[in-house]
């Protein structure tokens, strides 16, 4: 996504200058409410996301599940995750629409070393500005929800933009528009919280005593909210973290980064350090690392 709302930018990755929105500051925060209790897993949201964002993944294979594609990819920004549970002889099918949670305190943005590659708008949307992305993959490490994915084609990171282009002109995200059962709603965050409490109440009346709202306080709350039948155990919903927090590594890196400022000279060193401590099962390949360094070298050259 390109930055269409520069005046509305609240935070910008790897930038210490005051955000432009200090001049305005009246914009209301938005939220998308996903009511898992009304979701039939039809994947209309998944289709609408592909349509609106002009994304087309590969026609894959079936890996033993109706969840397809099996995981988020650089071309799959939202995904219905299907989980079957059985407790006391009662089967339940938990169907959660996965995608970026648009955290108030976004770990991806915190971790991002590339100036302006990740921004947070005053309305709360966290957006990746692809042309500024260096493909380092630190956003993946920074994200407590395991959302961003690197593209194998251009090496950059991608995720749901909450249809920031639609929202900017007063439309709801494509997924919310397509949802046939009003399992996805979109509006101001206070309105969505109110709707969520009604929906939770409805679930409780229907016997879901542990129903509740998922608004992750550990990341300052999110702009994508869930109503869950089993809010006591969000991890049942294919790994929705119970108490998501930004990795301490990210805070460490930010603490170090601040005194250094955003001096581009130190970036390569820091990036190397960061990679050293974080290398693991993430998707940052050596080739990506080299590409990032080449990219930064080019920037320095300019």
């Amino acid at each position: 996504m390109a930055s269409l709302q520069s005046l509305d930018i609240k935070r910008r990755s790897a930038t210490t200058l005051p955000a432009p929105d200090v001049r305005v500051g009246h914009e209301e925060e938005v939220a998308k409410l996903i009511d898992v209790g009304r979701c039939i897993g039809c994947k209309a949201c998944q289709a609408a996301c592909l349509e609106w964002n002009d994304l087309r993944g590969e026609v894959g294979t079936n890996t033993g599940s109706i969840q397809n594609p099996p995981d988020l990819t650089a071309n799959t920004w939202t995904l219905m995750r299907f989980t079957e549970i059985e407790e006391d002889g009662k089967v339940e099918w938990l169907i959660r629409k996965d995608g970026c949670m648009h955290c108030a305190d976004p770990g991806c943005l915190e971790a991002c070393p590339a100036p302006g590659a990740i921004v947070q708008y005053a309305n709360g949307v966290v957006d990746f500005i692809s042309e500024n992305c260096i493909g380092c993959g630190y956003c993946i490490k920074g994200c407590p929800f395991n959302i961003p994915r690197l593209s194998r084609t251009d090496g950059r990171a991608y995720k749901c933009s909450l249809c920031s282009d639609r929202v900017a002109v007063g439309l709801e995200p494509a997924c919310a528009k397509a949802c046939p059962t009003q399992a996805i709603s979109f509006g101001s965050k206070p309105d969505m919280l109110e709707l969520a409490s009604l929906r939770v109440e409805g679930l409780k009346e229907r016997g879901y005593k542990k129903a509740g709202l998922y608004d992750a306080p550990g990341v300052g709350g999110t702009h994508v909210l869930y109503v869950l039948q089993r809010a006591d155990r969000p991890e049942l919903y294919q790994g929705l973290p119970k108490d998501p927090k930004i990795s301490p590594l990210v805070s460490f890196w930010k603490g170090l980064a601040k005194p250094v400022g955003l001096g581009v000279i130190g970036l390569g060193v820091l990036a190397g350090f960061f990679h050293y401590v974080t290398v693991g099962p993430d998707t940052v390949e050596e080739e990506d690392e080299r590409a990032a360094e080449r990219d930064m070298a080019e920037r320095r050259g300019r």
Partner: protein, 810 residues
């Protein structure tokens, strides 16, 4: 649907059975969740699988495929024996009090009159006992041993909860919870809706499955009510229009019937279509049959249809037998069919027993396929390895592919499940050489007409005389056709009582079918659509969203047949005195001088309640039939018969295992499988991501569900050493397929008569064309046998075996 999609929001209880509303109709399913939001409605899903619909349900009751009548018959027994019926409704509005002929009976699985060799019944005794005036005898106390109520009660007394559990495998606790929730809606202010689809029709007892639920809804007083009814969720966007317009081999538009060869002249044809009222003071609306029929003939043959030639009655074919899908392919298989025009249909995938269909198509001289997509049928002669292992060199059939536009590339009306005719406009031009179906059929007709004019023939008249008044004969416009279907006056008609009063003006569009005449002065292509395109314009294009009722009536959104009526039998939403059973669900009421309200009354507007006319005005008795009098081939009361391939014998009557009136061709009898060799029950269904065999041609849909899979329980998987993602082979006695295994908690083994029965789920979308990975159609497995009444193939219950196998060679 008796009701409409929007009306589902008025329900207190939604029962989804014989279909998967959330999975296959996700957009319309929103009204179920609306009912939950507005009325705290509950949702019960009765299905072999815990499907996506069940994911949001309040109760899922598993059931063995093909045992719905046992389940619903048990429900009838429960309602009657626990006195959970709406008495006033049942007594006044159904055939419960009527006496049945002495000769009627039911014993050991057979109704009286069975003719063994013919697989058919003599239905003479399945009828009412009449008095001297020709009216049905009745006992309003419902006590007479031969009244419908008592016969029904006795018939279903055998369906005890124990028996139902043994047959269906539905666990008793869930069964009883579902029945008790359903029973609560016997109250006049509690209403249940029933949503079904081909999960009921695709059985050898398909019609009776639906009938059993209709009986339940009548006993509960839920028919005619807002939020009630028996609602078929149609599988294609215009399949309702297809049936309305008579695109079945034995129908003509508006549910009129083609003559049989026993009706060689018009007088004989009309003799069995007199519909004389069977009770005093009844309307019996089909008494107008002749008006509908003559007006149809005038629309077809114009000036060539005259009173002198019985309105061209001889131009209609006379059926010797019904030429349904199964019969046509059986004839083709025997080499009795030369050519086949396949318009918007993919029988190689859609008809049962692919091997038989493929052999049949190869015996044709020519096959014409009209379709926007490259279908498997159009490519049946291509070799696609194991997915279509034919030898093209051996197939001599000449195939013509005529590309047509898709729905978005033309204007016209689509009729939805709720009988709404919704006009839509062209969104884009068709690509390449694609033409509309209308243009292709018009070109075909014009050439045939020229040939017949030039060369004559045995009987060229029906083609040569066909009324073809269109501005561009080679391409009639959808508006012209819609106007013709609505009907118009062919001559001025004056009021016989007042010669100065003109009733109809020549050339004007008719307002409604009430204006139709049997003297040839009106023409109308389909009487039930009359009113859809009047002098006021195209009523199907209405888009006004106001809803004064608050009940989702939306009277000015599109147009609903008949007469823009949104809820059929809505007179039954009021008590005999004309007051709504539930004032909060007021559709219409008697206001002292006439019937009025938010919906168009399904009743003569001036008929006083005291006159005693029944709400079911289409029937000569004016009441709804709990006893199907001489109408259905397999019995006046629905009876549980096992599918033709079943894992157990019929527990009610082992000697009459399967539907004794279902038609089976001899060659197909030989290929039914035995449970000893095929121990598991196969059933087919859709997944949301793919629509039939079309959506696999769209990239996004292909991404969302890329490859064929079958579903099986964890228990069965363990027993067979199958892990999720493994390749499995599923076999029936007719063929086999290979697909990826989805092992799921959502399918559970059922306890059926003490045995453990496993169900193997077979979603049916894949084939050898399209953008998904190649796969097998599920009709490589399905049996070639259909419903006794509608001939719909039995796709929902048959026998298979499953085993682990290896991935196909790429």
């Amino acid at each position: 649907m008796t009701n409409s999609w929007t009306d589902i929001a008025n329900s207190d209880l939604v029962v989804v059975m014989g279909g998967q509303a959330g999975d296959a109709h996700p957009v319309g399913f929103k009204w179920v969740l609306e009912a939950r939001s507005r009325r705290k409605a509950r949702l019960i899903v009765v299905d072999p699988r815990f499907n996506r619909t069940a994911a949001v349900a309040d109760l899922h009751v598993p059931i063995r495929p093909g045992t719905d009548i046992a389940w619903l018959g048990g429900l009838i027994n429960h309602l009657v024996s626990h006195d959970k019926i709406q008495h006033e409704y049942v007594t006044a509005y159904t055939s419960a009090p009527y006496l049945i002929k002495q000769g009627y009976g039911f014993k050991d699985g057979l109704f009286t009159g069975y003719i063994e060799g013919k697989r058919a019944y003599d239905m003479a005794n399945w009828d009412y006992e009449l008095d001297a005036q020709g009216h049905v005898k009745a006992d309003p106390t419902l006590q007479h041993p031969r009244c419908v109520f008592q016969l029904m009660k006795a018939h279903y007394a055998r369906y005890t909860p124990e028996m139902v559990e043994r047959i269906t495998g539905s666990p008793r606790d869930k069964l009883m919870t579902a029945w008790s929730w359903i029973a609560e809606t016997a109250r006049p202010d509690k209403v249940m809706t029933a949503l079904y689809a081909v999960g009921w029709t695709q059985h050898t007892v398909g019609t009776q499955n639906i009938r059993t639920m209709a009986m339940v809804q009548l006993l509960l007083g839920n028919v005619g009510m807002a939020g009630g009814g028996v609602n078929a969720l149609r599988g294609h966007s215009n399949i309702q229009g297809l049936t309305d317009l008579g695109l079945l081999s034995n129908l003509i538009p508006g549910y009129l019937t083609l003559p049989s060869e026993h009706e060689p002249d018009f007088a004989t044809y009309m003799k069995s279509r007199g519909f004389k009222p069977l009770r005093p003071g009844q309307l019996s609306y089909w008494q107008n049959y002749k008006k509908f029929f003559v007006s149809f003939q005038k629309a077809m043959w114009g000036k060539a249809a005259t009173a002198a030639n019985d309105f061209a009655y001889d131009h209609l074919p006379k059926l010797d037998v019904v030429y349904d899908l199964l019969r046509i392919f059986n004839m083709m298989h025997k080499g009795e069919v030369n050519g086949y025009i396949c318009q918007g249909f993919n029988p190689l995938q859609a008809a049962p027993n692919k091997a038989k269909i493929s052999t049949a198509l190869a015996k044709l001289k020519f096959l014409v396929v009209m379709d926007p997509l490259t279908t498997e049928t159009a490519s049946f002669w291509e070799n696609h390895g194991e997915y279509n292992a034919v030898d093209p060199a051996k197939i001599k059939t000449e195939v013509f592919r005529l590309p047509t536009n898709c729905f978005a590339e033309e204007e016209g009306a689509l009729v939805n499940s709720g009988r709404w005719l919704q006009w839509h406009w062209k969104g884009a031009e068709p690509p390449g050489e694609a033409k509309t179906d209308i243009a292709i059929m018009a070109a075909l007709h014009l050439r045939l007409r020229e040939l017949y004019k030039k060369e004559g023939g045995a009987f060229p008249d029906p083609i040569v005389d066909l009324n073809w008044p269109y501005i561009h004969p080679e391409s009639p416009s959808p508006e012209e056709l819609a106007k013709e279907i609505n009907g118009s006056a062919l001559e001025d008609v004056v009021d016989p009582k007042n010669p100065n009063k003109k009733l109809l003006t020549k050339g004007r569009q008719l307002n409604l079918f009430l204006e139709l005449r049997d003297d040839g002065k009106t023409a109308c292509g389909c009487w039930i659509y009359s009113g859809s395109f009047t002098e006021k314009g195209n009523m199907m294009a209405q888009r006004e969203v106001s809803d004064p009722s608050g009940l989702g009536v939306f009277p000015q959104w599109a147009w609903s047949w008949p007469a823009n009526r949104r809820i059929l039998y809505n007179r039954a939403s009021c008590d005999p005195d004309g007051r709504p059973w539930d004032p909060k669900r007021m559709l219409i009421e008697w206001n002292g001088t006439k019937w009025a309200g938010f919906d168009v009354p399904d009743f003569p507007p001036l008929s006083k309640p005291s006159a005693g006319m029944g709400p079911f005005i289409m029937l000569p008795e004016g009441t709804a039939r709990l006893f199907a009098r001489g109408f259905l081939k397999d019995g006046p009361f629905p009876e549980h018969y096992e599918p033709f391939e079943a894992p157990i014998a019929n527990l009610l009557h082992p000697k009459v295992n399967s539907n004794p009136a279902a038609r089976v061709f001899k060659s197909d009898l030989a290929v039914f499988g035995k449970p000893s060799e095929f121990p598991y029950v196969g059933t087919t269904y859709r997944v949301t991501e793919l629509f039939h065999f079309w959506a696999k041609h769209a990239l996004i849909n292909a991404i969302l569900q890329p490859q064929q899979f079958v579903e099986l329980s964890e228990d069965l998987a363990k027993k067979k050493g199958i892990m999720a993602g493994d390749w499995v082979k599923v076999r029936s006695n007719r063929g086999q397929l290979r697909a990826v295994a989805v092992v799921t908690k959502r399918l559970k083994p059922l306890k059926v008569d003490g045995k453990t029965i496993e169900v193997v789920g077979l979603p049916f979308h894949w084939g050898f064309t399209g953008l998904t990975k190649k796969g097998y159609p599920s009709n490589v497995l399905t049996p070639f046998v259909g419903d006794a009444n509608a001939e719909t193939p039995e796709f929902k219950a048959f026998l298979v075996d499953i085993e682990k196998t290896t991935a196909p060679a790429v």
